[in-house]
């Protein structure tokens, strides 16, 4: 399941739904939440705006989810990504998977967020106290 939305999401509620989609089958649920940090490259960030490419975004996220489900045995998975204006400590992205085995769950969840970060058409613009700037891809 994938969602792109301006409104916030509730990780607890999403995990609850995910684990009940295949009741009794999943032994492991791994989730990742990406948050807006109040500092980036040494500068105070007061706001962040997420731009995306409507249409292509949904295709890219669906493709990532499909590939993860091909590569690992998952009983359920979800990607949620917010767009629009956000402030520090806000949720940006949520990726969660359920699997019979924890190694598969960890691998799949990390694959999904890693691939999203390099392949999905989102762009972050940071508002600093005196200016705005587009975020450059992280070296990680």
């Amino acid at each position: 399941m994938i969602r792109v939305q301006t409104e916030d999401f509730d990780p607890g509620a999403e995990i609850e739904q995910l684990r009940h989609r295949n009741k009794g089958q999943a032994g492991a649920v791994v989730s990742f939440i990406g948050l807006v940090r109040d500092l980036n490259a040494g500068d105070t960030v007061t706001q962040m705006t997420l731009e995306h490419y409507p249409g292509m975004t949904e295709k890219a996220l669906s493709g990532i989810e499909l590939e993860a489900n091909d590569r690992w045995e998952l009983t359920a998975s979800i990607i949620i990504h917010r767009v629009g204006p956000l402030v520090p400590d806000d949720n940006i992205v949520f990726v969660a998977v359920a699997s019979q085995h924890r190694q598969q769950a960890f691998r799949a969840c990390e694959f999904m967020i890693d691939t999203l970060k390099t392949n999905a058409p989102f762009w972050k613009q940071e508002t600093l106290p005196d200016s705005t700037r587009w975020v450059e891809p992280a070296e990680t």
Partner: protein, 83 residues
């Protein structure tokens, strides 16, 4: 007609997010289309000369030498930074 889209810092540089134009007669691929757009003025010439730009046709990432066909949606954008 082809649909053109520009995102993020490129959109800001160009001052435009999307437009529809007739496919120019002598344009058959992405390098040709990019050169044609760069012919508009110095701003376009400079903004589209950025080697780090990515391109999507019909919402799929494509290689720099991809073919362009009437009806296509073509997008240029800087490296993505979501997640």
């Amino acid at each position: 007609m082809i649909q053109l889209r520009y995102f993020a810092s490129l959109r800001e540089s160009l001052g435009i997010g999307d437009e529809q134009i007739e496919l120019p007669e002598d344009v058959h691929d992405l390098p040709g289309l990019t050169r044609w757009l760069q012919g508009r003025d110095a701003t376009w010439a400079s903004a589209l000369a950025n080697k780090r730009l990515h391109t999507a046709i019909n919402q799929e990432i494509v290689k720099p030498d991809a073919t362009v066909t009437d009806g296509d949606e073509i997008a240029w954008f800087p490296p993505v930074t979501g997640g």
